[in-house]
Point group: C2
Chain length 475, copies 2
């Protein structure tokens, strides 16, 4: 194809992408040093309508270093309709860290598995990936380095790192092969780009990008978590008892509450001091008392340390991005506590039962969620997942009490009554959720809430238990 | 009012705030050291529904330090319906920097003027402000410090800073008075809170917050920029000539374009090296060639350094915040270039002419914009404001050419034709915008675009001129 024709077609395909707003594109370039990646990106970008592109070359900020590794990439996922171009992206990071032995072989393989999971999740959500490996053989790299060095107008582009990567050429080539083999997929293919004259190289990249833009959507990726793990026995909503127990006496409750809250205050302060982030996800049946329980937890916390995120319908900015983005964006910095009042589990509960997400979407969400939680834990976060259950009879009693009390009436909506009619559908979804998202460090805690006092104590005690387990661990 | 009644009413008022989503509340506490601000905030927060509150005590991140001072506060303005509680907020910063002589008296006064402008702008956009000065006399502060010091369970709360602030009690008291006098307003009142037993103090703050929540909206603040300045003579759209000049020959254009783009590449690289941020706002009549001109500018730039922000209708997240928020959120970090394809001037152009903003809103936008731009400049940014003009005849010619060319047809919308019918309304709005937002360092450049080649050259040369002026200045 002639260059002018290619440019016109590429631009047309990009404008279609922007107009339809169905898919986003992520183009990654990584590989050997001094392969003119920057120049290529600049020229390609000049071919595109750059109101709809963004280019990223990362140097993590303090805000990024204080959050799970993938946060820095999640926050840069382009909106549907846009093209994000990443120089090195998550690959350079893995590649060079391994080459410089900052990552062990095992950690490198784990990272590759995380990459597979990340890319599969993006692809399943309509993000199209194209990955370019910039190749150059060792003698050519040496000649190019020497030529740059000798040219006063360009020598500034070189750094000691470039020479070091030249010395490591064989290692980088071998790691690159391993990396490409481990992460090649229909939905995220690798293309190798030989070092050659800039013009044909640009033409090649333009053609590859065009091909990507006009291709029909790839076969949806199968989403799996990067490190599947043993499943501890999950709870079941059908056995949420003991419901028959006598209600806790008010005086006993007050005494135990003070003790538990006092411990929580101390534990939370210690998390801040040790800069450990905490993520608490509260799910539960309507009227089970999520709000009241959260309130009893936050009563012990320093208001500067925590934030409650109430998860309702996504905003239009959130709808333009993969579904998990709105949870990633709310992750706490190190030492902070994020409390989710409803959470990412809405994907496999309300979105499933109400038909808001297609079955294929909520089915793959189990693996996506396991991977999300694994990454939180890998960053050193404490995760608590609490499910607040009540019996059908107790829920009815509470609904009726709410309807009868003026200042509580706002808490009761038509939706609550509708959800109640789908009790069994919800029970089925809840039990499947328990079974499929139970993993070590991310176990579910099912709390029977027919007795409010016992429930609130159980919630605080469970949070304490999780924090204390973490504080007792050596690192 | 009894505490239980107050709590119930406060909660009710907060839930109304959350339900109506018309206003946001910012509550600030500042003042002397060891006045139990943290404790008070925690207790107050416990009275509130904390799904709708957020508490901020700032330690600026690297991302914040790389942007204009007020960015860190703009990004924390609560959404409509929410309450943001700020410990010290922008006041502590000013107060202690002055007390420790990190701010000169003049810089302190300028900061107070910026605060006035910031608060007036927030208030005009429906953010309700309440500011508490936490008072304590010197002997009581000393006694409290000693008591804390002597108590092993609480001594950790103290730092050397607290003792230092005790030694500076008189200075802080005097600065506090000056600060309150300078920033008290109907829309952002100060209340002094005497140091006393926690319970009545909490009661007092609860009552003040309740009063704030149920009060009718304050008389709208008059918005002014903090440091009004001489207005250089503005351009006028009615004299956008020279339109009669002979078109530039293609060969002359190519030669001059290469020269100008080469200079721009060097200038931009120097901005990155010196970590100077650049903000370019492109406005213009439809079909004047904004897109093409921006494209000629970005052709010289490293794609990693810049981003083009196309400003269209606000998202729903943006609509929940003061109008200027969506421009603040897009400000570049130091050394980066943000190019706005349409900008904050939409407020006084399309929003005015099409009646999307009420007259009071676009009228005050002139001062808000002057202040916004002054803050960019104060941070050391280079600002370029380019208005691309064409004659009515030339616009018609281009519209017709677009309609006739298949791959350009998408650029022409019904809105373009509608805007054309309002030519004179737009001219009036444009000239008033020029006159009211012309200020030193933020001058408008009007570029006649009937001849596309001359226009594109003029755009690049104007950007070069601005960058070179900045590079030639001593700091």
């Amino acid at each position: 194809m002639k260059t002018a024709t290619l440019r016109a077609r590429l631009l047309e395909a990009q404008l279609d992408l922007a107009r339809l707003q169905e898919r986003a594109v992520m183009l990654l370039l990584t590989g050997h040093a001094v392969t003119r990646k920057g120049r290529l990106v600049n020229e390609l970008n000049h071919w595109l309508e750059n109101r709809h592109t963004e280019v990223h070359a990362l140097a993590p900020s303090s805000e990024e270093r204080e959050r799970p590794y993938w946060w820095r990439f999640w926050r840069r996922v382009p909106d549907r309709g846009r093209i994000g171009i990443f120089i090195h992206g998550w690959y350079g990071d893995a590649l060079f860290a391994r080459a410089e032995r900052r990552l062990s072989p095992g950690a490198f393989r784990d990272r590759l598995a995380e990459i597979r999971a990340f890319e599969a999740e993006l692809a399943a959500e309509g993000v199209v990936l194209l990955k370019l490996w910039m190749d150059i053989d060792r003698p050519a790299q040496r000649r190019h380095l020497q030529a740059l060095q000798a040219d006063p107008a360009r020598a500034w582009q070189l750094s000691a790192t470039d020479w070091q990567r030249h010395l490591q050429h064989a290692a980088i080539a071998a790691l690159g092969r391993e990396m490409r083999d481990a992460t090649a997929a229909d939905h995220a293919p690798w293309r190798r780009l030989a070092f050659q004259d800039p013009a044909p190289q640009l033409q090649r990249v333009g053609a590859l990008l065009h091909e990507t833009l006009v291709a029909p959507p790839a076969r949806p990726a199968e989403v799996t978590e990067s490190v599947p793990c043993e499943t501890p026995a999950p709870p079941s909503i059908r056995h949420a008892g003991p419901r028959g127990a006598a209600p806790l006496k008010k005086s006993d409750y007050a005494e135990r509450l003070v003790e538990a809250q006092g411990r929580l205050a101390i534990n939370a302060r210690e998390m801040a001091r040790r800069r450990i982030p905490v993520v608490l996800a509260f799910e539960g049946l309507d009227a089970a008392g999520k709000g009241g329980s959260i309130h009893r937890v936050t009563a012990s916390l320093d208001a500067r340390q925590y934030r409650v995120h109430r998860i309702a319908a996504p905003s239009d900015e959130e709808l333009a991005l993969p579904w998990a983005w709105r949870f990633w964006r709310r992750l706490p910095a190190d030492g902070r506590i994020a409390i989710f009042d409803r959470s990412w589990y809405g994907r496999v509960l309300v979105e499933r039962v109400e038909g808001l997400a297609p079955e294929s979407a909520w089915r793959r969400a189990y693996a996506e969620i396991r991977e999300f939680e694994r990454q939180l834990l890998a960053h050193g976060a404490v995760l608590g997942k609490l499910f607040l259950a009540i019996s059908q009879e107790e829920q009815l009693r509470r609904f009726e009490a709410r309807a009868a009390t003026p200042h509580k009436r706002h808490k009761l909506t038509d939706e609550d009554w509708r959800n109640r009619e789908r009790w069994e559908d919800y029970e089925r979804a809840i039990d499947e959720m328990f079974a499929r998202t139970q993993s070590p460090g991310a176990e579910w805690t099912l709390i029977a809430c027919d007795d409010k006092r016992r429930a609130r104590l159980a919630v605080i005690e469970e949070v304490n238990r999780r924090l204390e387990m973490r504080l007792a661990s050596p690192h």
